[in-house]
């Protein structure tokens, strides 16, 4: 004889990721590591910004380079003589706490006090996956169009720091930097928004100061 039975499962896959994220943060805290999840659009300047920050910050920096194929970005960071772990996501569109956990195992955490985790260039999927970082920095640029913020509200609602990059070419691409700043402020009134151009150096001091203030 067969019978029908209802089985309660109540297993939340998002909660499982968040638990792992909390564990990642505990491991970093125990090692005195402050971490920044660098999220943003493809080509917005995430890698260049991290490279610039490595050169300007007086901290022992480490990097987790997440990408569909991570070796290109990882190679760029290695040329700055910092410990780097590349995370290949393959067909996946985001990093998750599980991947970061493995990267943390490979890094010399005792020699790192500031860890950048470069996420996959994507303004949608990474929103769902907390990595355990202390700061979520979203980097976009004017060349994605000045409607980028209003089209991707959730990532900005969750951000701790927003960088709007490449403002030196705003006129050339017909983007209003003011509109982009206003759109972020509408979604997340308290967030710090920094407009920058890594090419001219505009905004770099503000980004450095913001990271320092979060670390202290």
């Amino acid at each position: 004889m067969h019978k029908i039975a209802d089985v309660e499962i109540q297993h939340d896959i998002m909660v499982a990721n968040r638990k792992l994220a909390r564990r990642n943060q505990r491991i970093m805290d125990q090692n005195g590591v402050f971490s920044v999840d660098v999220l943003g659009a493809i080509g917005s300047g995430k890698t260049s910004l991290i490279e610039t920050l490595i050169d300007h910050l007086e901290h022992k920096v480490g990097v987790i380079a997440g990408d569909v194929i991570s070796k290109y970005d990882a190679g760029r960071f290695e040329s700055h003589h910092v410990p780097v772990v590349g995370l290949n996501t393959g067909k996946e569109c985001h990093l998750d706490a599980h991947l970061v956990k493995h990267a943390l195992e490979e890094l010399p955490l005792e020699n790192i006090d500031l860890l950048f985790i470069e996420n996959v260039g994507n303004l949608i999927c990474p929103v769902d996956f907390d990595l355990g970082s202390h700061l979520r920095m979203v980097v976009i640029s004017v060349s994605e169009g000045d409607d980028t913020v209003e089209k991707h509200p959730l990532i900005f609602q969750d951000a701790d720091l927003v960088v709007i990059n490449k403002i030196d070419i705003a006129d050339a691409v017909g983007a209003s930097v003011e509109k982009m700043v206003d759109d972020v402020k509408k979604l997340n009134p308290d967030v710090q928004v920094i407009t920058s151009s890594l090419k001219t150096g505009k905004g770099l001091d503000e980004i450095l100061a913001a990271i320092e203030s979060y670390m202290s």
């Binding site: 089985v7 996946e92 769902d128 009134p189």
Partner: protein, 126 residues
């Protein structure tokens, strides 16, 4: 597009529970998806239907329930279901229904929860 990896995690979770409960067949799977996740229920269901082929779940009905967003407002202390807008982009923008504030703690709406399954098993009492 992370529906595929989530679909796989859901199937793994269900298979695990089905095996532990000696299921011979899985008839129904109920999943709760929070309105604030970046998961598209239609895509998720499509992918689930594809990857359960040839498994114990093959003939099961997949039911997806949407979980509305609940908040705690940091400005006015409101607790409960949030106002959501933003249908233009099929995305949810969360606002406090009391004061219109956006400085909010999200207390519900980020779930991807495998809630329960209905299985067929040998009735050991019969």
């Amino acid at each position: 597009m992370h529906e595929l990896s989530m679909a796989q995690a859901i199937v793994d979770t269900v298979m695990d529970a089905a095996e532990k409960n000696n299921a011979q067949d899985v008839l129904e799977v109920t999943i709760e998806i929070g309105q604030l996740t970046m998961l598209n229920s239609e895509q998720l269901k499509f992918l689930l239907d594809v990857i359960i082929e040839g498994t114990l779940l093959e003939n099961s009905e997949i039911l997806i329930e949407e979980i509305p967003v609940e908040i705690k407002c940091q400005s006015c202390d409101f607790k409960g279901e949030a106002n959501t807008e933003g249908s233009d982009h099929y995305l949810t923008i969360v606002v406090c229904p009391e004061c219109g504030g956006r400085n909010l703690e999200i207390t519900k709406g980020r779930e991807c929860n495998v809630k329960n399954i209905r299985i067929e098993k040998v009735d050991e009492d019969a």
